[in-house]
Amino acid sequence: MMEYRNLGRMIWMAVIAITVVGLVTIYSASAHNVRVTQSVFFQQLICVLAGFAIMFLLSYFDYRKFYDMAYVLYGGSIFLLIAVLVLGRDILGAKRWIEIGFFNFQPSEVAKLAVILVLGRYFCGQRPTHDFDIRGRKEILWRDLFVPLLLTIIPALLVFKQPDLGTAILIFGIFIVMLFISEIEYRYFFSFLSVCFGLVPFLWHFLKPYQKDRLLVFLNPNIDPLGAGYTIIQSKIAVGSGRLFGKGWQAGTQNQLNFLPERHTDFIFSVIAEEWGLVGTLFVIFCFFVLIMCCFNIAQQTKDKFGMMVAMGMVTILSLQVVINIGMVLGIFPIVGIPLPLVSYGRTSLLMFAFIFGFLLNLSKRRSVF
């Protein structure tokens, strides 16, 4: 177990390392991009600095205040999710952004956070269930499973409607992990999981054609090499061709010649892989691993249940995003459109993670609230 003070320092170091890698890569990825100009680099740079400021300030802001604000934030994010469906700006056939001045705000990122906070508060408010619990099974199921499920499903469905399958799955993933930690009885948990898997074939009908295509080409990218499978093939070529030491910064041919779509956002990892090789990718993965383990340690050592639940939710979201994004780039996960934390271009996402690390830093300072 590490000292709290050290944990905080490690988080700062890892976060700075990862954001710098991100900035350097965005610079390269936008250099000869046909879709975006190099201004994305400067936007991201400003956002990184703002994010550091938020992290620093939040580390001195009592996290318990969020306990009180959880439902308010939750309500606010539901409102924003509805607003985006009505007012949202249409980019590439999806309504995910609300324009606020020069800033494109992405409510689904806030929704992730709101769900974590509200579930954290909900689960710590329950009394632990014991063998001698006198409540009936129905009551237990209602309180321990269905109410939190409802709290999750509402924003998840709204996000799914945008459509943003990746974030919807992510929100659901957060719920499953936090449910697991909430000490629900194993039999309830696993029967719930099996019901979920049983429902998957039915959910297939609710997917958009392009989402179905993406899932199908995940199984075999060569069914449509110039269409839906194109991204996977080109991404794998980019990653593999980086080999051990990469082609050098701004020298990745897959990147610079526009073979890679979405390379400053969701596929930024393939640019890192192409230009810096295995050495670069392992460094990035190492940084993420250290970061996640630090966060995990903070969650583990927190005595406060609200803090622990929220921290675990944050660890979940961080791990899932890293693993799914990299897995997607490598072709071992379907393409679901999830950005790489702190690295992908995306200002809402970046600020949200700044919030997460600020929250965790504050948590690490408060060994005990009692």
């Binding site: 992990v177 930690i181 061709s241 675990m312």
Partner: protein, 569 residues
């Protein structure tokens, strides 16, 4: 406890992606690296310009002219229907037909497909101007071989064509590709390695749309070397004009250097059809008149009386006869029960008269004084039965009879009758016109071995050829005697080639009227030389089934007169 499980899952997931990374980047890295290279690098061939061919005066015989090919890049085509409708309209070809060729030739989506070759310039301009409306349409500018003299130089120059599959397999190791053109006959084939140059290419980096981003490497094609021939296109044209409508061949050679000034063969063909891939080509191949055959070097015919020159040399040199030796010609020669005929009743003839009048009986008698081995040997000394080594492909060897071969091939021994036939150049003697020119030149030069050739210079370097004495020296006196006979054939009123007695020229020569197998007309020959004119020449006129040698003499006369008026002789 539950947190432990979560941390184990995190460990597992990170292990999984780390493993996947190592697998893709380290183990499969080389494979993907090559894929990324292929993704972005295309090689575009740039064909070298073939060397041109000139005649001795610098007139172009084989040239490169700019050609326009219409190509379509399948992956860039937006609206097929519109594109092919437009192409069909401009080119005047049925849209369905274009579409069919396009489909047949498509290999992969980025390789351009040629839908129409060699489009006229005006149409190419129209297409080029509208190119931006039809993505995927490319007008490629290339070079096409052009033979301005068409039929006139066809046999000498030959033609070029694309490599056939078997040729490609054979020549792959020498750097030939499907894109190369290769000489298929004549000079184009013989000097192909000088003419072809070196194919160049561009290594181009392309982006995800296949558009050129930058050029990575350039290998400029090396232009082939220009070649100058010894051919004089004026004489060549005159010779071909004289042969129009006839079958036969004419060869005019510089007596001193062995340079071929003209080599005509008729009927002829237009080599441009081969380059264009015209349908007429298959007609050429099937034509019983064999227009593709270069009769001057590839046709084998009995020399007839022209062979008497060798008979005279042989008999004189071996002292079986002398200049004064006289035989009487009653118009035939009786050998046992067979009668061997002469053209006329010549009466008493000495050697000079016998050559001048082409008396068969004289040479029957001479032949009987010699034996077949000696005649065979002398024939070979003067280059019969073997190639002259002229710089053209597919030269025929001809044949000279010998007793041994007769036994092997026909299963009978040499008879006196065979000797008589051999004596007057009939029977199994087969020669090519170029062999007789070479033989006649040797007689004119007093025993110098002359190498007929067509090449004058390759690039900037002159090609010269040394003449060497024949292997077995023949006395000068012998030549003088024979030359007197050859002169008499033209100069005397009774000479068989008196028609060639042109004012201001002293023509030497020998006629020949050779019987061919079957009932067809005889072959007509005249082979001669002019030793003391501005240009000393040896020449041959041959008419396949042309009848009497008189017709050959007439053509020779026309040719010489022409050369005289052109101030060549």
């Amino acid at each position: 406890m539950r947190l432990k499980i979560i941390s184990l899952i995190i460990f597992f997931l990170f292990g999984l992606i780390t493993y996947a990374l190592v697998y893709t980047q380290a183990l499969q890295g080389y494979y993907f690296y090559n894929l990324s290279k292929n993704n972005r690098i295309r090689v575009v061939h740039k064909e070298a310009r073939r060397g041109r061919v000139f005649d001795r005066n610098g007139i172009v015989l084989a040239d490169n002219r700019i050609s326009f090919d219409v190509m379509v890049v399948p992956q860039e085509v937006k609206n097929r229907n519109d594109l092919f409708l437009f192409l069909g309209e401009v080119l005047g070809i049925d849209k369905q037909k274009l579409w069919k060729t396009f489909q047949q030739k498509t290999i992969n989506s980025f390789a351009p497909v040629m839908v129409a070759e060699n489009v006229p310039k005006e149409k190419a301009v129209v297409l080029e101007e509208n190119k931006f409306l039809f993505p995927g349409l490319v007008i490629e500018v290339g070079f096409q071989r052009d033979y301005p003299f068409k039929e006139i130089t066809a046999h000498v120059i030959g033609y070029v064509g694309k490599l056939s599959r078997s040729e490609l397999n054979e020549l792959k190791d020498y750097g030939y590709t499907v894109h190369n053109l290769i000489g298929k006959s004549g000079i184009e084939e013989f000097y192909n390695s000088y003419l072809k140059g070196e194919t160049g290419g561009l290594q181009i980096e392309v982006n995800h749309r296949g558009e050129q981003v930058r050029v990575l490497g350039v290998k400029e094609p090396v232009k082939g070397q220009d070649i100058a021939l010894t051919i004089d296109s004026r004489i060549q044209k005159a010779a071909m004009d004289l042969l129009v409508g006839r079958k036969g061949a004419m060869v005019v050679m510089d007596l001193d250097k062995g340079e071929i000034l003209a080599m005509a063969s008729s009927p002829s063909f237009d080599p441009n059809f081969f380059v264009e891939g015209n349908r007429v080509v298959s007609q050429y191949c099937a034509d019983p008149q064999a227009p593709l055959l270069n009769r001057a070097i590839g046709g084998q015919y009995p020399p007839g009386s022209v062979f008497k020159v060798i008979m005279a040399l042989c008999a004189l040199e071996n002292k079986r006869i002398q200049a004064q030796t006289t035989f009487t010609c009653p118009g035939y020669y009786q050998l046992g029960r067979r009668q061997f005929r002469c053209t006329h009743v010549h009466g008493a003839q000495n050697l000079t008269e016998a050559i001048a009048h082409s008396c068969n009986v004289y040479f029957y008698n001479t032949g009987l004084l010699l034996d077949v081995n000696l005649m065979n040997k002398f024939s070979r000394i003067y280059g019969l039965g073997t190639v002259t080594g002229i710089d053209l492909p597919y030269e025929a060897r001809g044949s000279v009879p010998d007793a041994h071969q007769l036994r092997v091939k026909q299963g009978r021994s040499w008879s006196k009758g065979d000797t008589l036939n051999f004596s007057i150049g009939q029977g199994d003697v087969q020669v090519t016109p170029i062999q007789l020119v070479k033989m006649m030149a040797s007689v004119a030069r007093g025993g110098q071995d002359i190498h007929p050739h067509l090449i004058k210079s390759i690039g900037a370097s002159e090609i010269t050829d040394d003449t060497l004495p024949l292997e077995k020296p023949v006395r000068n006196q012998t030549y003088e005697i024979v030359r007197a006979g050859l002169r008499a054939a033209v100069g005397d009123y009774s000479g068989t080639a008196h028609v060639l007695d042109i004012n201001g020229l002293s023509v030497f020569g020998k006629t020949g009227t050779a019987q061919s197998s079957g009932d067809q007309h005889t072959h007509a020959w005249f082979v001669g030389f002019i030793p003391n004119a501005k240009t000393k020449i040896a020449f041959c006129v041959f008419l396949e089934h042309g009848g009497s040698s008189y017709y050959a003499c007439q053509l020779a006369r026309d040719l010489l007169t022409y050369m005289q008026t052109e101030n060549i002789l």
